[in-house]
Amino acid sequence: MELREKIPVRSDKTASRLIDKEAVIVLLDKQETVVLNEVASRIWEIIDGQKNIDELARAITAEFDVAYEKAVEDVAGFLEDMAQRGAITLNKDGKN
């Protein structure tokens, strides 16, 4: 499966809030807090367990001044980092 077809799903073990356009994410089992920049926060906000990386990248392209291929690269990189932290899972079918 292509990377851009994968669907991120937020982990149950997170708590988060958007404050002044920055997402504050508490990783509950690790007792860690992550604060995202504006673009990453928007990606986090629109993760709904349905949209795949391609769709997220298109949404970011529409909202920010970034080309589609760069958006895919950035979205995928961000999501892989978040998956490593345990904040999301990246699945082919959006199931945890």
């Binding site: 708590a15 988060s16 809030r17 404050i19 508490v26 509950l28 007792q31």
Partner: protein
């Protein structure tokens, strides 16, 4: 409108309790009704809208609420991080599993002694120690972060090291406090359990308690009450914090958003050091952790000195200054 965000709400969900701790400040009012599940959900929604991220659920004993897990689960679904304060005595295998499903940041329980009969005397319930310790084990098994909290009082101060060791042996975090406070009913009966100056000094020295001396900055005399947090009672009275009995309003009558931006809460936020007519010039202010609430309740004036905090600061100075002189001599 101010720019302060209410990041944390400390919410006492009930004042019903199955223990009768002698020093307890929490007092229920029989004539008042505690918050319903439906109303709790609407307040949780409003807290979420306001940007609140952390909820501290306490009491009383939260697990005495039949709808506690309904409230807590709803809060989790709305993306809150939870801290749970409980006496632990009602936690069995099933309850520990339900607690684990909430992924709480912490589960915090009080232990008053490593000597179980002393602990049970303080809680006035025989068997409470064993049940709390059993709860610790159950929660640890589920990889939850447990904190044991020790309130230092006259009759358990000698248990400090033993309780600290107990926490270490159980593999949990340990916190302590020596600030026994008056009852919510206004009674100062709990204060008889507070350490006096001599006992406090001995407690600091004999246990090697690390003490902080801040820069003598005037801002250090002010706390963060009402800046990023709020306190809510089971009757939905709202206060700047659990210690400041200056009521901002009630959530049956006014929205939380209105109370957050109210003149009453701004009054607390806008307190300046210059308003603290004696403390701003005090010679021990760098040792002082002044509490507006204690000054208000015990000395009748939130802008005046808190005799308790004055005593603690004086003791800290007595403990720290000889050490500073020794270091200076060595140099």
């Amino acid at each position: 409108m101010n720019n302060y965000i209410c990041l944390l709400a400390h919410w006492d969900l009930t004042y019903k309790c199955n223990l009768r701790c002698r020093h307890c400040y929490a007092q229920g009012e029989k004539s008042r009704e505690e918050v319903s599940y439906v109303k709790a959900k609407s307040i949780i929604d409003e807290l979420k809208e306001m940007g609140c991220l952390y909820l501290v659920f306490s009491g009383g004993e939260i697990l005495l609420r039949a709808d506690f897990f309904d409230i807590a689960s709803y809060a989790r679904k709305q993306g809150f991080a939870l801290r749970l304060l409980t006496n632990g005595t009602l936690i069995d295998e099933t309850t520990s599993k339900r607690i684990a499903s909430l992924y709480p940041l912490t589960v915090e329980m009080s232990i008053y002694a490593a000597d179980k009969s002393l602990h049970d005397t303080i809680t006035s319930v025989i068997g409470s120690f064993d049940r709390t310790i059993d709860a610790v084990a159950l929660l640890k098994k589920r990889n939850l972060r447990v904190i044991l909290k020790f309130l230092v009082m006259q009759d358990n101060v000698k248990e400090f090291r033993a309780v600290k060791s107990l926490a270490e042996n159980l593999g949990v975090d340990f916190l302590f406090d020596f600030c026994v406070v008056t009852s919510d009913s206004g009674s100062d009966t709990p204060l008889k359990y507070r350490l006096n100056r001599v006992q406090l000094k001995d407690f600091f020295i004999s246990n090697g308690i690390p003490l902080l001396e801040r820069e003598a900055q005037e801002e250090a005399l002010l706390c963060s009450a009402g800046l990023n947090n709020i306190f809510i009672t089971p009757y939905l009275d709202v206060y700047p914090c659990i210690g400041i009995k200056y009521k901002i309003g009630n959530l049956w009558e006014t929205s939380l958003r209105e109370l957050w931006h109210s003149a009453k809460l701004n009054f607390i936020r806008e307190i300046q050091t210059s308003d603290l007519y004696k403390c701003a010039q005090c010679e021990v202010r760098q040792f002082c952790s002044r509490c507006l609430g204690i000054a208000m309740i015990e000395d009748g004036d939130m802008f005046g000195p808190s005799s308790f905090d004055c005593a603690v600061a004086a003791v800290k100075k007595e403990v720290l200054e000889p050490k500073k002189e020794m270091v200076a001599d060595e140099k």
